[in-house]
């Protein structure tokens, strides 16, 4: 397993797929946000990933870190709102462990994920149970590390477990009240609704999984 690598093409493919995803799920994400937020989560991601997609070709000769720094900056600059700095931060930090690299090991990939999720937690001052994207991402990364390093699972298999943990995390946002984000003011009225950011995070993880060799 130690010769498992994720190369630049993989990551570029992920960004390409994310741009497609943002268009395809625009309405779905926005509708989740309409119920307990302001109805723009889908549009926000679409605006951000259109910018990524517009510039991606020009970034392809850069190292993985720079590509993700550019992608994160595009999200940060073009989106705004809560998801701009959160997902923008995610991608900007995600590339850092891959600085100067054209490919990474799976351990490095886990490090990248951890770096991305950590900045979301930090910026959003959110932890699991607050009904945010962290409810998807933290269990996913934790599961990833656990099953890969502890259970010695194959990378793609491990990513599948991470995705399942993230998906369960997103489901867990449904029956609870929100402690962060717009839904926070709704109290009990947020109960019964999935957090939109937790749903987009599942979709993002799914792309990382699907693209894996």
């Amino acid at each position: 397993m130690s010769d498992y690598i994720l190369n630049k093409d993989y990551f570029i493919g992920v960004l390409e797929d994310l741009a497609v995803l943002a268009e395809e799920k625009k309405v779905y994400f926005s509708e989740l946000d309409s119920a307990i937020g302001d109805g723009d989560h889908g549009m926000n991601l679409s605006i951000g990933f259109r910018e990524v997609s517009k510039n991606l070709e020009g970034w392809k000769s850069e190292d993985i870190n720079t590509i993700f720094k550019n992608a994160g900056t595009a999200l940060l600059d073009k989106v705004g709102g809560a998801s701009g700095p959160l997902y923008g931060g995610f991608f900007m930090k995600f590339g850092v462990p891959a600085k100067g690299k054209e490919e990474v090991s799976f351990d490095e990939f886990i490090e990248m994920m951890e770096a991305g999720v950590a900045i979301i937690e930090k910026r959003g001052k959110a932890s699991v149970g607050d009904k945010t994207m962290v409810d998807t991402l933290r269990p996913a990364v934790d599961a990833l590390r656990a099953v890969y390093s502890e259970d010695d699972m194959a990378p793609k298999e491990a990513m599948k477990k991470a995705l399942e943990a993230g998906s369960a995390g997103s489901d867990s946002t449904i029956p609870i009240i929100a402690k962060k984000g717009r839904a926070m003011r709704l109290g009990e009225r947020a109960i019964g609704h999935r957090d939109p950011g937790s749903a987009s995070s599942v979709a993002i993880l799914e792309i990382f999984y699907n693209r894996m060799p």
Partner: protein, 335 residues
């Protein structure tokens, strides 16, 4: 959808292009570099040596925020996408453009997204240029939380921006400006009712469905759900339900003076607003609270949302002076 737009992805850029053409006597657009074409600057404040006042937030609340940039009011507005905070770089660029060595204040509604982005702008101004930027969050929406510091900013932003800008224009230093901002925010209470959702250009339809004839008490200006949905009642009864939580939220006593704003969220006519104002005035009269001055119109909208909010500012001599201070902007001029 009953809207006049072109491509939904272009609405903010096209609005800003139109805005600075239409109001070229008052404002200009900062286009280069970090501003990303999202910073509206006052022409009047260019040569004025004062603390910089920067307001901002998502689009779709016009005349907030850009309508209040001009002489005696804000120095700059940072403009986000619809219902979405601006990103950090334009927040930073506004500081760079405005700062006269006396520091700047950010004023905006208390929303997680805005806080994250403006905070990053302030950090950058500090780290890269050593400019001190203070922030005061507006938290006037009484119904949005029990804890004042968790509350949203809605139409009361108008008053907080107005009074703080006046303080800065009078030559106060940054600490005094911050103190004034906190003081007016503490004195300001708002509550609203909506009868329809705004139309989101990106969706080509309402953010959410509301049956014709329904109203929702306490809805936010981004369409955030409120506290109670029911059938639309007569205007007087609706105002009663809005005034009660407002009046319960501050110790108002006989003899107090207030500035009143009856605000349209977009599609509610001026005619209706005055019918509502009449009831507000009756209630205040009963309580022995004096209406010092009042504003009736659309000062903080949610595009084409049908709805109305009432804001009261509990006044003292200083707040009166700040709110009466002359200003001249495309959407608020006072002699």
């Amino acid at each position: 959808m009953k809207r006049l737009i072109n491509d939904p992805y272009d609405v903010v850029e096209e609005m800003l292009e139109g805005y600075v053409l239409a109001h070229k006597d008052h404002v200009e657009l900062l286009t280069e570099g970090e501003a990303q074409g999202r910073v509206v600057l006052s022409k009047a404040s260019k040569n004025k040596d004062k603390v910089g006042v920067i307001i901002g937030g998502g689009s779709g609340h016009e005349p907030l925020f850009l309508g209040y940039v001009g002489a005696g009011f804000a120095d700059a507005a940072v403009i986000g996408n619809i219902n979405t905070s601006p990103s950090p770089d334009p927040c930073y660029a506004a500081v760079k453009a405005i700062d006269k060595g006396k520091g700047c204040i950010y004023l905006y509604g208390n929303y997680a997204g805005d806080v994250m982005n403006f905070d990053m702008g302030a950090e950058k101004a500090d780290e890269e240029d050593g400019i001190r930027v203070e922030t005061v969050l507006v938290t006037d929406d009484v119904i949005s939380s029990e804890n004042i510091e968790d509350r949203r900013g809605i139409a009361g932003m108008f008053f907080v921006h107005k009074a703080t800008s006046a303080k800065a224009d009078m030559g106060a230093d940054l600490d005094e400006v911050v103190a004034a901002a906190k003081k007016i925010n503490d004195a300001t209470r708002t509550m609203g009712v909506a009868m329809s959702s705004a139309t989101l250009p990106s969706k080509g339809g309402p953010i959410f469905e509301m049956e014709d004839g329904d109203m929702e008490i306490g809805m936010g200006i981004h369409g955030e759900p409120g506290v109670r949905r029911g059938k639309i009642e007569p205007a007087d009864r609706v105002v009663d339900q809005i005034m009660e939580p407002i009046l319960a939220d501050l110790p108002y006593v006989k003899g107090d003076e207030v500035y009143v704003l009856v605000n349209s969220l977009g599609a509610t006519p001026i005619l209706d607003l005055h019918i509502c104002f009449r009831r507000v005035a009756q209630i205040l009269e009963e309580k022995g609270i004096t209406v010092y001055k009042s504003l009736v119109g659309s000062f903080a909208s949610s595009m084409d949302m049908a709805g109305m909010s009432v804001t009261l500012v509990k006044l003292d001599a200083e707040l009166k002076e700040l709110l009466d201070y002359p200003c001249d902007t495309p959407y608020f001029t006072q002699i």
